[in-house]
């Protein structure tokens, strides 16, 4: 079956804004959970991960939207993946060279951006069907949504885990909840956050 060109007809700013809420990858679409849960032990880690992912997403969307008409349907997934993997390698080498501390904190989860479902998802759903400008806006929007989610989650976990946010003391004399840094804390916090987002969505 031929793939149809389904150009989006939203106003351009909507292309960016929709990623923040209606198509927020974490809270609404529940994609890209692995890095979300793994690296959000602190707000800073969440933010860095978000930035790295947004870089990969935007670069990939750029390339894909340019070459979208050249890629045959059957091998499109493989092509997208290879492009993503390339940019992830770039990001990884960059972090290792310039921010070794962050690179160490994020550990193997930087290379795992390769398999972040929503990056591939955006290519499949959007970049492969839309012109370059729109695709970049879309990527930036979804990326921002991702950064927002990760930073929020990281902040909450850091706050409860140590009484600090971005390393600044927020609640003096806080007795740290070690569990927030552990996997269990990640699951519980995200679970409650998504539930809260559901509740907010419902009252709209």
């Amino acid at each position: 079956m031929e793939r149809r060109e389904e150009v989006s007809r939203r106003p351009w700013y909507q292309e960016y804004l929709k990623g923040l809420w209606e198509e927020n990858p974490i809270f609404r679409m529940l994609l890209g959970m692995c890095p979300t849960l793994a690296v959000t032990t602190s707000a800073l880690n969440g933010l860095s991960m978000g930035l790295a992912t947004t870089f990969v997403l935007t670069s990939t969307s750029l390339v894909v939207s340019i070459i979208r008409k050249l890629v045959p349907g059957q091998v499109r997934i493989a092509t997208f993946t290879v492009i993503i993997a390339t940019f992830v390698t770039v990001a990884d080498l960059f972090l290792k060279a310039k921010f070794p501390a962050i690179s160490k904190a994020l550990g193997p989860y930087v290379p795992l951006i390769v398999v972040n479902c929503f990056i591939l998802g955006r290519q499949e759903v959007f970049a492969s069907k839309n012109p370059t400008g729109r695709s970049i806006l879309d990527a930036l929007g979804v990326g921002s949504g991702f950064i927002f989610a990760l930073t929020l989650l990281g902040s909450i976990r850091e706050l409860l885990g140590s009484g600090e946010v971005f390393g600044h003391e927020v609640i003096p004399g806080w007795h740290p909840w070690v569990v927030m840094i552990l996997p269990a804390g990640a699951f519980l916090t995200l679970g409650f956050l998504v539930a809260a987002m559901n509740a907010i969505e419902r009252t709209k």
């Binding site: 994609l31 959970m33 390698t89 290379p111 398999v115 996997p183 269990a184 679970g191 998504v194």
Partner: protein, 192 residues
């Protein structure tokens, strides 16, 4: 003994889902029904074992030999994508039922971080071939174990009067959180 340690660690103490957060997307997606969970679990065990062997061979005999370790991500993802596609075709041919049930999740095994994570961890920890194989099987079994437990729980929860906001992913995440708390009981069982 070393092999047993690797195995137990991969299944229980450092479970891929509950400790490394690998494979959360399919974990959330296919854990709602027991049959699909078991099918997916078996597919993952199979793919993981295969991946462990193939990536080990390629990494050590091609990338390292030619001094190209920086190509590992691209190579690994290529290998995994092809493997999954082969499994998919197999299923489609020999078990259309399972194929239909697993539906969109089969292509998602490609983007299942647990498979790539497995390859990466294997390289990172410098396992030899046999260790890598055991690690792959253990990780697959660990994934399937948690997936099955979760499916059992979720089939039960399907009948529960959950608060509306918690239905679906939130309750699954919270259950996984409690499960992670419970799995902490195994900590120290094997010191990795």
């Amino acid at each position: 003994m070393e092999l047993l340690l690797i195995f137990v660690a991969a299944v229980l103490t450092n479970n891929f889902v509950l400790h490394y957060f690998l494979g959360i997307c399919p974990f959330l997606g296919v854990s709602s029904r027991m049959e699909t969970a078991v099918g997916m679990g078996l597919a993952v065990i199979f793919v993981m074992t295969l991946t462990a062997t193939v990536t080990w061979l390629i990494y050590h005999h091609i990338l390292v030999r030619f001094g190209l370790p920086f190509l590992e991500y691209v190579t690994f993802i290529l290998v995994i994508a092809s493997l999954v596609q082969i499994v998919e075709m197999f299923l489609r041919r020999f078990s259309p039922e399972l194929y239909r049930a697993l539906g969109i999740y089969l292509p998602l095994i490609t983007t299942n971080c647990s498979i790539l994570g497995l390859a990466l961890f294997m390289v990172l920890r410098e396992y030899d071939f046999i260790e890598g194989l055991v690690f792959g099987i253990g990780a697959g079994i660990g994934f399937t174990l948690v997936l099955t437990i979760m499916a059992g729980i979720r089939e039960e929860l399907a009948f529960a009067d959950l608060p509306r906001a918690f239905r679906g992913a939130p309750i699954t995440l919270i259950t996984a959180g409690i499960l992670a708390l419970a799995f902490m009981g195994f900590s120290g069982l094997i010191r990795v």
